[in-house]
């Protein structure tokens, strides 16, 4: 292996947290393999580039092109391909978020490289990178390696720890002018609609989800209030979404979103395998359910056997007391 390149993704004037997680993973691999690592950002700002030093990254390639003012997956893949060649990089890491999961396999295909998506562990061992990734919706996990010289990985967000380093690191930025034409923008973003005032389950540190036990959309304020007390996002089980009580964007599970928050609170969710698939890598799981035999209690850290209609409001008050929210 020669060099690791990490794709850095900006959000407003910062980098996404998942980019810092990817930097930390790259740093560990680079140390293990005894090879350098660098970041690649497209049209990065000074602030964005500066922030990587805290995480021990000292080299950043800033690929600048006016055609990239609006995002295009096809053009971004082309830019990355050029930078990978010019940097002679052979290990490419992406955060496995909406953009990364779409872009990484495209880059891998361009490089004719092996790709492993949604990794939860990466380790340098015996001259190669050994990855672990959940399969069958997290019901099992595979240990897997890439055979081709060039290797591409995406990392499940919130699983790898973003670790700051001591002291300040001087950052060397290399500006790169990619060769791009309008024809490269075969797909491009024309608009972004934010879920106003709502925190997305994919970005939340804490998620409070409701299941069938909530009985109706009119009771969902209990879930919303608890989520607000934690400063977290509102999630839902499939039953709740299929009943039309909540939008699909909130669905956690096999046919919804896969999340790994620090805290996942399941209220009135029995814990069908399809739901567990979407949240089993959460760091701490709390279950509130009146059925003591519900499968959710087999996968939780802390459980309350009781009626959510009595428990949740009390819990909300007590949590508020501590968080002040």
């Amino acid at each position: 292996m020669n060099k690791i390149l990490v794709f850095l993704e900006g959000q407003a004037n910062k980098l996404k947290r998942s980019s810092f997680e990817a930097i930390s993973a790259a740093r560990t691999l680079a140390t293990g393999a005894g090879i350098p690592f660098a970041g690649i950002i497209i049209n990065g700002t000074k602030e964005q580039v500066k922030s990587v030093g805290d995480y021990g990254l000292s080299d950043v390639v800033n690929a600048k092109h006016e055609l990239m003012e609006t995002y295009s997956s096809t053009a971004a893949a082309n830019v990355l391909h050029q930078v990978i060649q010019s940097e002679n990089a052979d290990v490419i890491l992406f955060a496995g978020n909406a953009k990364g999961l779409e872009l990484a396999p495209r880059v891998a295909a361009k490089l004719e490289a092996g790709y492993i998506g949604d990794c939860v562990e990466l380790e340098f061992r015996d001259g190669n990178i050994i990855a672990k990734k959940p399969v069958y919706a997290g019901k099992s996990q595979i240990t897997v390696k890439v055979n081709s010289d060039r290797k591409v990985y995406s990392l499940r967000p919130n699983v790898f720890t973003a670790t700051k380093v001591d002291g300040t690191i001087a950052i060397t930025t290399k500006d790169y002018a990619p060769n791009l034409s309008e024809d490269d923008k075969k797909a491009f973003v024309t608009a972004m609609m934010k879920n106003e005032g709502k925190m997305d389950v994919l970005e939340a540190d804490i998620i409070v989800s409701g299941g069938r036990g909530i009985k109706g959309t009119e009771n969902y304020n209990l879930i919303e209030n608890l989520a607000a007390a934690f400063g977290g996002a509102v999630g839902a089980s499939r039953a709740v979404v299929d009943a039309g009580w909540r939008p699909h964007s909130e669905q956690v599970g096999q046919t919804g979103k896969t999340v790994s928050p620090t805290l996942y609170v399941a209220c009135g969710i029995s814990g069908a395998v399809q739901h567990l698939a979407g949240m089993s890598t959460s760091k701490v799981i709390v279950a509130i359910n009146k059925d003591k035999d519900a499968p959710i209690f087999k996968v939780c850290d802390y459980g309350i056997v009781g009626d959510l209609f009595a428990v949740v409001p009390k819990l909300t008050e007590k949590v508020k007391h501590i968080t002040g929210k």
Binding site: M192, M193, I285
Partner: protein, 248 residues
């Protein structure tokens, strides 16, 4: 319109997964297989597009002889043609992508639909890979789609909201729940599908880019402290979250 839908055969989502005797793949005994749920949105979208604009819908899968069952289901949903790219051993995603791309090159579709992911290896990579091999654009995780004036306008789920993406045709659309409500096959169509032809062709071989070394069932390493619902229990939960887990 010439419409191609790529589908894959996966264990029913309620299946309990056990590791097979080789230690690398699942134990397939007693497993009920289905079309990967997201692929059904792809079939439905293809059919609706055909109903509106005319044309043909072809369903293709890469897999063993056993995969003819999902092709029959696709035929029962009224796709015009079903193709099995036959591969007897399990290969990596690169192999599947190359074979799908090879077939697509031959029939030259105006649009290709796939599920956002197959719910076995869960990598969401096929749309991007195949489209790159074909030199065409793709849009992943699409929950709303309009086709007009030679382009696709797609709404896709991203963190914190939705993105509108415009792509020129031909392109690949990866389908998300919400895009449509897939139809159930009607009994007469299920009967008719049984005798419809399925074109079978041999897969092309590729280098093994990715090797699975082992499979395991994740261990449960959870504290599993179960409390009652008294005020003291709720206090204890808050204390545990505050002092032990240090989350709040």
């Amino acid at each position: 319109m010439n419409i191609l839908v790529c589908i894959s055969r996966v264990p029913d989502t309620a299946t309990r997964i056990l590791v097979g005797p080789d230690g690398k793949t699942i134990d397939t005994q007693g497993i009920k297989y289905v079309i990967s749920p997201y692929d059904e949105y792809g079939i439905e979208e293809g059919l609706r597009l055909k109903e509106k604009n005319g044309g043909t819908v072809t369903a293709v899968t890469v897999g063993s002889e056993g995969s003819t069952d999902i092709l029959r289901t696709a035929l029962a949903m009224c796709v015009d043609k079903a193709v099995l790219i036959k591969a007897d051993t399990h290969k990596d995603s690169y192999f599947v992508a190359k074979n799908l791309a090879e077939y697509a090159k031959e029939i030259n579709p105006d649009i290709i639909f796939m599920g956002r992911q197959s719910v076995d290896y869960d990598s969401l990579q096929m749309p991007s890979m195949v489209s790159e091999f074909l030199g065409i654009p793709s849009v992943s995780v699409v929950s709303k789609l309009t086709i007009a004036d030679g382009k696709a306008t797609a709404e896709r789920d991203v963190e914190g909201g939705k993105e509108i993406v415009e792509a020129s045709l031909p392109c690949i659309i990866s389908c998300q729940k919400g895009l449509n409500e897939p139809r159930y096959p009607k009994l007469p169509d299920i009967m008719k599908a049984k005798s419809k032809p399925i074109e079978t062709r041999e897969a092309i071989q590729t280098d093994e880019k990715v090797t699975v070394l082992g499979m395991s069932i994740p261990l449960k390493q959870r504290a599993g402290r179960i409390l009652g619902d008294g005020d003291g229990d709720i206090d204890e939960l808050v204390r545990l979250l505050h002092e032990e887990a240090k989350i709040i």
